[in-house]
Amino acid sequence: MTRAMNVVPPRGGRILLAMLPFVLIAIIYVIGSAERRAANPDDKLLPPISEMAATTKRLAAEPDRRSGEYVLWVDTAASLRRLALGLGIAAAVGLAIGLTIGLLPVAGAGFGTLFAVLSMIPPMAVLPILFIVFGLGELSKVMLIIIGVTPTLIRDLSLEVSAMPREQLIKAQTLGASTWQVAIRVVLPQIMPRLLKCLRLMIGPAFLFLISAEAIASDVGLGYRIFLVRRYLSMDVILPYVVWITLLAFLLDLALVYIGRRAFPWAFVQEPR
């Protein structure tokens, strides 16, 4: 008999298998919702899917009664802009500092501990200081993402750099490379796939920080809407928004995988098992 670890499902079966747990979750939800509705016809906690669909349609396809805006799209645009800015800046900063710390022992000694410590500070707890320094506008929301995500990126990337085979760095030096050249031609391209992987892992936390920032002070955005309607437990808005955020995050994840495979084919040559 074939070992379990050697059983590879065929392509079609794989898709079916991937769908299965989602279908199960949907069924459990529908049952739970129906039960609560039976007990209280106005229940707001687990609205039936039909009601969520109606709400979603209203938010996405009908202009808001008061502002005339298409709420879902306005929120999405605002949040994605903040997210892209935050993640983009975090990636650039994380890459630069992580590479420096990982490659230069002096920088590692000087800043390694600093960033290890900084990455442990809960950003939410020092929000008041952030507000004063960065104001209450867009900047502070983007900054919260950056502050939340960058230290982890720095740590992970610098660990990755210092785990690179020494042979490669030595080989590069015997080919005449200076520190700068090693950094940009040997180390940088090799940690790019890792950066993408890190960014994939950081999409979740980044959304978390974004939503928290939007919950604290904002007038538009996905997190703003969720926390606004939480005031009257409108789960028929919250749940579709959560699904939408998850979908956006998942698509972003897929996009990063795709970019990785296109831009760094060498890193994926042996990957499929």
Binding site: Q168, I170, L175, Q181, R185, F264, A267
Partner: protein
């Protein structure tokens, strides 16, 4: 000029002595073969010259000067384990040496400078027999092909000292002969000093002008780590006299008869 001197060099890992009391003068332009049993410290010996390892005691000198304690373009290396850049194609792996030298800041060549460098690189790639694979990434090459790429890479820089750690071990005899035919004239023309670790006695004798054997001279069965390896044989192969059979080869010679 690229003469190497070892003055009473010791290398230790923790409490394990790997090399002890190494005293050696290698004249400029020597082709030195290093042989010895597995684990004797041959790779360690090369790492010393490379500047990757510092001696626990003693000093290694280049042309009488204390050694720059870091690798540089004057000393090329082919490692025992394939060590090419996984993120560059075969062509890119050879090209990068030229790019490092000519563009300090961007380390990238464009236009005619690039075309020239590509031409030189392609010639080397063809010489090691990887012509049809120039656009592949290392992960799609066989073990021997990666090793040949590493050789081409090291040769591109025409280093003064070339360090080879079992460079042809993974190659079939045909390809190996090709590599010999490639390296010998280069060594002669460029007046390189080559230090080559090999297990192939024919190769060691066939290519080199001098041969040293590294082995332990004393052993303590209870504490094998207390004694390190030393130079047990040192043969000048340029003299036209008969070469003595090396003691530690006897088992092998017998086995093959």
């Amino acid at each position: 000029m690229s003469a190497l001197s070892f003055r009473n060099v010791w290398v230790e890992y923790g409490n394990q002595v790997v090399l002890e009391r190494i005293n050696l003068e290698i004249a400029s332009g020597t082709f030195l073969s290093v042989v010895g049993p597995s684990g004797a410290g041959k790779s360690t010996f090369l790492r010393l010259i490379l500047g990757q390892e510092r001696p626990a005691q003693g000093a290694v000198l280049l042309d009488g000067e204390p050694f720059p304690a870091e690798p540089g373009p004057d000393r090329g290396i082919v490692f025992q384990r394939y060590s090419v850049f996984p993120h560059l194609t075969v062509l890119g792996n050879v090209l990068i040496g030229y790019e490092f030298a000519e563009r300090k800041f961007s380390a990238r060549l464009f236009g005619s400078a690039r075309r020239e460098a590509i031409e030189k690189s392609r010639a080397l790639i063809d010489a090691v027999g990887l012509g049809p694979h120039a656009d592949k990434y290392p992960s799609a090459l066989s073990g021997g092909m990666q090793q040949r790429l590493a050789i081409a890479q090291a040769l591109a820089k025409q280093p003064r000292v070339l360090l080879l750690d079992e460079p042809f071990g993974a190659l079939d005899p045909g390809t190996r002969a090709q590599m010999h035919a490639l390296i010998k004239p280069l060594w002669r023309d460029l007046k390189m000093t080559i230090v080559m670790v090999t297990h192939d006695i024919k190769e060691a004798f066939g290519l080199a002008t001098r041969l040293i054997a590294l082995d332990k001279t004393r052993r303590d069965p209870q504490a094998p780590e207390r004694y390190g390896a030393n130079i047990t044989y040192d043969l000048d192969l340029t003299r036209d006299s008969a070469v003595p059979v090396l003691g530690f080869l006897r088992a092998q010679v017998e086995a093959q008869q």
